[in-house]
């Protein structure tokens, strides 16, 4: 059944299930691509020396946080889970840096 525009259009601000804006998605996508390219360049050119592992893991932390908060929408839906999830990323990457 096709509903009228009046019933289908929902004001984003008033809707608790408001979706992620496409601009935020696009900016996140570009940021993720940039981080991936930068990681590759830094690693291949051996620019960071002994700091390479911490630097790459820090970039990974940012990328994981971007994917979960924007692509997986935890910054809008299920916000209570965002901090524990980021905490798990932090613990994992700290463990990796320490055991590297």
């Amino acid at each position: 059944m096709k509903s009228s525009p009046e019933t289908s259009a929902r004001p984003i601000d008033a809707d608790p299930t408001a979706p992620e804006s496409t601009r935020a998605l696009t900016l996140t996508w570009l940021a993720l691509l940039t981080f991936s390219l930068a990681n590759y360049y830094v690693a291949e050119e051996a620019l960071a020396g002994a700091l390479l592992a911490p630097l790459l893991f820090a970039a990974v932390f940012v990328k994981l946080t971007l994917v979960t908060s924007v692509f997986m929408e935890l910054r809008h839906h299920g916000r209570a889970w965002l901090l524990p999830v980021v905490g798990v990323f932090g613990v994992l990457l700290t463990a990796l840096v320490l055991s590297w």
Binding site: S21, A43, F71
Partner: protein, 233 residues
């Protein structure tokens, strides 16, 4: 053009009713004369509610945490067999892994745009547009599979198998686990895309698409970790 309306899953009130009754979110029974802060309760429930199917999130979390343990085991093994790992890593192709990273991230973006299109965020409430994004994501998934498959063929052709050493065990185990999930994800995406074209008013379709998107993004997360661990460091 058909529009996507998933009234069974999009209604916040309907979803709130389906939340599990847990002590942490269960409303406290008001005593005599005490008023119930409905707004606060609603906001609290909203903060806990995830997109898609909650049970699916539990499954994804369990999978991701299990893989996290293997990543730590990999790091410890690498420290103990550093020369072997470094020598083996030189046989990999970081540029192919970079291309795969860009492909998978872009497919994750396409899935997110597909779900956004289903909700009509950009006033593009057409099922066809959402299906296009979803199929683009599935196609990019196939590109990933093709590149990874060629890498597997190259390594297996060179006689490097699961039993060729510690590094190669982890390489095949971790990337193979991810590879199989990508194949599964492509199947899920294709199903959602086809439903969008054939049955755009199917009840619960948006929830299924959101769950499928969460699965695909979980694969993004795993690859974001695998890329530097196996190829760059």
């Amino acid at each position: 053009m058909a529009e996507v309306h998933d009234t069974t899953s999009r209604s916040w009130e309907a979803r709130a009713e389906t939340l599990p009754t847990m002590a942490v979110i269960a409303p406290k029974r008001p005593s005599a004369g005490e008023s119930v802060d409905v707004e606060a309760m609603s906001a609290r429930r909203r903060d806990l509610r995830l997109v898609g199917d909650t049970a699916w999130w539990v499954f994804l979390t369990a999978e991701f945490l299990t893989l996290c343990l293997f990543f730590i085991v990999f790091a410890v093994m690498r420290r103990d067999h550093l020369e072997e790992f470094r020598a083996a890593q030189k046989l990999l192709s970081p540029h192919l892994a970079l291309v795969n990273s860009l492909v998978l991230i872009t497919s994750g973006y396409a899935v997110a745009r597909g779900v956004a299109a289903m909700r009509g965020v950009a006033r593009s409430t057409s099922a066809r547009r959402a299906a296009t994004w979803i199929f683009v994501a599935a196609a990019l998934g196939l590109v990933f599979v093709a590149i990874k498959g060629s890498e597997y063929a190259d390594k297996l052709g060179a006689g490097l198998t699961l039993s060729s050493g510690h590094f190669w065990f982890f390489y095949y185990f971790l990337t193979g686990f991810h590879f199989l999930h990508v194949l599964l994800g492509i199947g899920f995406l294709s199903w959602v895309g086809s439903r969008l074209l054939l049955e755009p008013h199917r009840p619960g379709l948006l929830t299924q698409a959101e769950s499928c998107a969460a699965f695909w993004h979980m694969l993004d997360l795993v690859w974001i970790l695998l890329f530097p661990l196996l190829y760059l460091l």
